[in-house]
Structure formats: structure tokens, C-alpha cells
């Protein structure tokens, strides 16, 4: 029942902080984080796991760590 999904986040990000949070959250949810690229205006992630946990991942990342302001969080493709 595992899926692979690509996500895109836009906003004002602190790359190191957002990346650390993304890794932390993927691990907390037991998801495989296959790819992660973070810049100041945008981040992209590819993960694999059950659909509901992928949803929980994007939900947490839509808020993000305190020092990042996320304006959009979308699944791609």
C-alpha cells in the first residue's frame, strides 16, 4: 500500500532548518525520504510510504519549523 510522492513547498525558508525538520518528520512517520532539495524560496521532497503518512508529512511541513514561513505545500504529479 506504499506510494511514492513528490512535494513542493514555497515560502521563505531557512534551508538548514527546513531540511532538518523534513528529515526529522520523515523519520518520525517512518517514511523513506528519497530526495530533498531546499532553497530559500522553495523546497522539493520525494518520499515513499503509506498515503495517510505522506499526508501527515505534508501537513507538518506546511507549518514547518518556527523560522520558516511556508506559503504553499503541494503534491506534484
Amino acid at each position: 500500500m506504499d506510494e511514492r510522492a513528490a512535494f513542493r513547498f514555497a515560502g521563505r525558508l531557512v534551508p538548514a532548518s527546513f531540511a532538518a525538520f523534513a528529515r526529522h518528520r520523515a523519520a518520525r512517520l517512518g517514511l523513506a525520504l528519497e530526495r530533498l532539495e531546499v532553497e530559500e524560496a522553495e523546497a522539493r521532497a520525494v518520499l515513499r510510504g503509506p498515503a495517510w503518512l505522506l499526508e501527515a508529512f505534508v501537513l507538518a511541513l506546511s507549518l514547518g519549523p518556527l523560522d520558516c514561513l511556508v506559503t504553499s505545500a503541494e503534491r506534484e504529479g
Partner: protein, 283 residues
């Protein structure tokens, strides 16, 4: 001491029920500041800790004031002017919790079968179906629409279960409302609004108001129903750790059912509101 959070200061806050005020000074606290209200022969008056007068409004039977310069007016509630509705104002409750946690709790449905067991929800009907979150930019409000939850007894008159449909509305950081189908009049919706007075970062007062299309149950029954539910929620918000609302989700695990809670925190973060949040170390 008055908070330095400008975003929190620039809002209207309900601080008393109009019929509670008499000529004797009524002291209370708002955003860390001790204020005083009174009803003088010349009308309602409010003063801050230094004795400077504060702006006042009276709406929905409540007295509102502000310590700053609100950009908008007090929330418009259309149901309040519909003549055939029953207006049920509940009493004020003091809560040792952040007012933001109280809003978050109001938006949450997944707790119905546990905190309000056999009233607003019951095992095993615990599933929270997906719903839509809307950031309404023009009105600067947050909505959660198309929420559905199975309730064994959603109102005092209900004796069989129904799939309740609810919309939630957050018109300002410390005010939250819901609209739900009226049990006895399925083509209309009841409206419940919760006005929160943030006194300190983790101390607040709150008052529920209801505008009901329901025409069967007694005023007292509705009042008791709502008060019981509110007191059950108080046990929760007073016992969350931290008491203040975390804006950083690292120590929590939101799932899809928590979408409105996450959206609410995003909205607060965008606004720059800090009073009552866990990460705010200032006053």
C-alpha cells in the same frame, strides 16, 4: 504587564457581559494589563492601568475593548439579527490555558468520542473524514468547511445519531465559531460563537454564545448542554503540555484530522501573533 505583541494588541476583545456591569468598578485583565470597566450615568467606561480611557463597543450582549488600534470591526454574525432565532448566552469560564489552545480545541472533532463521549461522539464511530481548509484573504478569516462527524446526540433534543455537518470559522485569533445543521430544522444552521479574553499568556476567560434555529428544547437545557461540553474541554486545555500553543510542530504529530489546527497555526504565524504561543519568551 501589558504585552508587547502588537498583533495581539490591535484586536477587539470581549471582556464582560453587558449585564454584569454596574456602577462599581469591575477589574479584569487583558493581555497582561489590568483594566477597569464600569457603567456610569454617562454610559459604559473602560480604563487601562494608567487610568487612560479605552475604546468600547457593546455587541451581542458583550462589552468589547481594545488596547491597540484594530484594523477591522467586531465580527459580523448574521444569525444574531434573524428574529426567529433563540439567543442563548452562556456564562464566562476561567481557564488556566492559552486562549489559542482553546480555539484549537474548538476546531477539533477527533476528540468528540473521547472528551464528549456519548454526547458529541461515540466509539467506534471515530473516523474524521477529510474536510477543506480555506484561508479567506479578503476577510482575513480562516474557515474549515465540509466537516462531518457522527454524533449520537448533537443537541439536547437529539435521541438518535446523525452525521453532523459543521463549518468552522475563525474571524480573529481569539474568536472561533461553528455552524451546524439544526437538529429540528435541517434546512437551517445553528451558530455557536466562542469569544476568548486572553488575560495572560496561559490564562484566559471565555464565553460561548449560541443563536439557535432549534425551537424544541428549553433555554435551560441548551445552556446546560453547552456548559457541560465546555467544562469537559477545560480539562483538556488545562492539561496539555505546553499550556501555550506551539507554533513549531516538532514535538507534536498532526495527522489529516488536525488540518484545521495546523492551518490555524500557519495563519497565526503569518500574522506574527505571538501572545499565548509556546515560543514567545517576551511578555
Amino acid at each position: 504587564m501589558r504585552t508587547r505583541d502588537r498583533v495581539a494588541l490591535d484586536e477587539w476583545y470581549a471582556v464582560a457581559s453587558a449585564d454584569e456591569l454596574g456602577p462599581a468598578p469591575w477589574p479584569t485583565r487583558l493581555l497582561g494589563e489590568d483594566i477597569t470597566l464600569a457603567r456610569t450615568p454617562a454610559g459604559l467606561a473602560a480604563h487601562d492601568a494608567a487610568g487612560a480611557p479605552l475604546p468600547l463597543r457593546e455587541r451581542y450582549g458583550l462589552v468589547f475593548t481594545t488596547l491597540g488600534a484594530p484594523r477591522g470591526e467586531i465580527v459580523e454574525i448574521a444569525e444574531a439579527v434573524e428574529p426567529d432565532r433563540r439567543f442563548v448566552p452562556c456564562g464566562w469560564t476561567l481557564l488556566r490555558a492559552s486562549g489559542l489552545r482553546v480555539v484549537e480545541n474548538f476546531l477539533d472533532m477527533a476528540h468528540f468520542p473521547y472528551v464528549h463521549a456519548d454526547i458529541l461522539g461515540a466509539e467506534p464511530r471515530t473516523e474524521v473524514a477529510p474536510y477543506r481548509v480555506e484561508f479567506r484573504r479578503e476577510a482575513d478569516e480562516l474557515w474549515a468547511r465540509g466537516c462531518r462527524f457522527w454524533q449520537p446526540r448533537a443537541a439536547a433534543t437529539d435521541t438518535t445519531g446523525t452525521m453532523m455537518e459543521i463549518d468552522y470559522r475563525v474571524p480573529s485569533p481569539f474568536v472561533v465559531m461553528l455552524y451546524r445543521v439544526a437538529p429540528s430544522q435541517p434546512h437551517r444552521r445553528d451558530c455557536i460563537a466562542l469569544f476568548i479574553q486572553p488575560m495572560e499568556a496561559t490564562l484566559c476567560r471565555a464565553v460561548p454564545l449560541m443563536w439557535l434555529a432549534d425551537d424544541i428544547s428549553t433555554h435551560t437545557a441548551m445552556l446546560h448542554f453547552e456548559q457541560a461540553i465546555f467544562l469537559q474541554d477545560r480539562v483538556i486545555v488545562e492539561n496539555q503540555r505546553p499550556l501555550a500553543l506551539p507554533l513549531d510542530p516538532r514535538a507534536e504529530i498532526p495527522t489529516r484530522a488536525d488540518s484545521s489546527s495546523v492551518a490555524y497555526r500557519r495563519w497565526l504565524k503569518e500574522k506574527g501573533l505571538r501572545f499565548g504561543t509556546a515560543e514567545w519568551t517576551g511578555a
